[in-house]
């Protein structure tokens, strides 16, 4: 089970990174 959970956690972190990136892009659009 741990392996599965680790994979899910990895995926979750990847999505978090995408969210952070999108936030920055939106901020740029707004100020630009």
């Amino acid at each position: 089970m741990s392996d599965e959970l680790d994979k899910l956690e990895e995926k979750r972190k990847e999505l978090e990174r995408i969210i952070q990136e999108l936030k920055k892009r939106l901020k740029r659009v707004r100020s630009g």
Binding site: M1, L5, L8, E9, K11, R12, L15, E16, L22, V29
Partner: protein
């Protein structure tokens, strides 16, 4: 973003607002704080916002939402308030930001669930572990799909400053548009005439009745919402019948007063032979009721009335069944026809039975006659 409006649209809504605020006597106060150009600028911003989501401008109650404008310090605060009340949607960029925050929170909660599952792993049954893993996997897949769609939308926005949509539709609370914002009174009355004409009523009569009830229809027009128009039109015929019934009863009562010597102008009835050619049948049950009529008649005769009475029941081959009975004693010269389609009593001024050709002629006031004809022909 393609703008669907032009300067004329802005002017149209400006005039609606101007008229409404003037009527409320707050126009001067409003323009002291927000000069006409500022109001036009707010209208433009609202129109742009609606365009972002392809929302019909007419769903907004333009006049009413500007009533409180004078209480705000600036147009931004006013627009924010409209957003908070759900009257206009937020700009898509704000909306996208809100979605990002929401997804971020969901991911954070998922992280907590993963950590917990790890911590309690050894206490869980194999079956429960599988269930929890399946749930977490599904949730992550679902979030991933939503984030992908939002990413595409943001890319689109970066290219054209337009978010095409994976965004769920915004909530608009006030889908109430006064009808007068959409059409003028004449257009509304034409629609009423058009609708009533569908019921086989003679056109000249429809025009006459719409003109007769113009005040009532105008009051409805003032209060109606655009979204209620179809329901109103569909119920118009039944409403008309009930109104006509009320009026006709008043007329008949007026005639009664005349018979008693009170000076009331007697309306001229129109004779309708709508049962011409139809045989009159006398069901057996009628004879058992006759003594009751005789009793009434005698009472009235004693009171000095010249009473003629009879009882007729007619069953037609149409879906109208009329039953005739004398009015209560004080109204004995009249008949009540209970019309099952109309669902109300109909005053018949008189009737005539022609024994030779077995026909019955009923005499109604004009409006009732038209309504009965309309129902018969339908």
């Amino acid at each position: 973003m393609v703008e669907r409006f032009d300067e004329f649209t802005i002017e149209e809504y400006f005039n609606i607002i101007h008229q409404h605020l003037s009527k409320l006597d707050v126009w001067t106060d409003t323009i002291r704080k927000f000069p006409p150009e500022a109001i036009r600028s707010i209208i433009r911003k609202i129109l742009e916002r609606l365009d972002e989501y392809d929302i019909d401008y007419k769903i907004l109650d333009w006049a009413t939402i500007f009533e409180g404008l004078r209480d705000f310090d600036n147009s931004e605060a006013f627009l924010k308030d409209l957003e908070a009340k759900g009257i206009i949607p937020k700009p898509k960029i704000d909306y996208a930001q809100e979605l990002l925050a929401q997804y971020e929170k969901e991911l954070h909660d998922l992280g907590y669930r993963i950590v917990s599952a790890k911590a309690y792993e050894r206490y869980l049954l194999e079956k429960d572990k599988e269930i929890e893993i399946r749930r977490l996997r599904n949730k992550i897949r679902e979030l991933e799909a939503r984030i992908k769609e939002l990413t595409k939308a943001i890319e689109e926005y970066e290219k054209e400053r337009k978010i095409t949509m994976p965004l769920p539709p915004p909530k608009i609370e006030t889908r109430i548009t006064p009808l007068k914002n959409v059409m003028n009174l004449d257009q509304f009355l034409s629609l009423c005439i058009q609708k009533l004409s569908e019921y086989n009523l003679p056109v000249e009569y429809v025009r006459e009745i719409v003109s007769e009830y113009r005040d009532v229809l105008t009051a409805s027009y003032e209060q109606l919402k655009y979204e209620e128009l179809n329901t109103f039109l569909n119920g118009l015929f039944n409403w008309l019948i009930s109104e006509v019934m009320k009026k006709e009863h008043e007329v008949v009562n007026g005639t009664i007063l005349l018979a008693r010597g009170v000076n009331v102008r007697r309306p001229q009835p129109v004779t309708v032979r709508y049962y011409a050619g139809m045989p009159v049948t006398m069901p057996p049950s009628i004879s058992s009721l006759k003594p009751k009529f005789k009793e009434w008649a005698e009472t009235l005769q004693k009171g000095g009335y010249d009473v003629k009475y009879d009882l007729v029941e007619i069953k037609t081959d149409t879906n109208i069944v009329v039953e005739a009975s004398p009015y209560p004693p004080e109204k004995v010269q009249f008949l009540i026809f209970r019309n099952k389609l109309v669902g109300a009593n109909v005053d018949c001024i008189a009737y005539n039975i022609n024994e030779e050709n077995k026909t019955l002629t009923l005499y109604f006031y004009k409006t009732i006659a038209y309504v009965i004809n309309a129902l018969t022909l339908r």
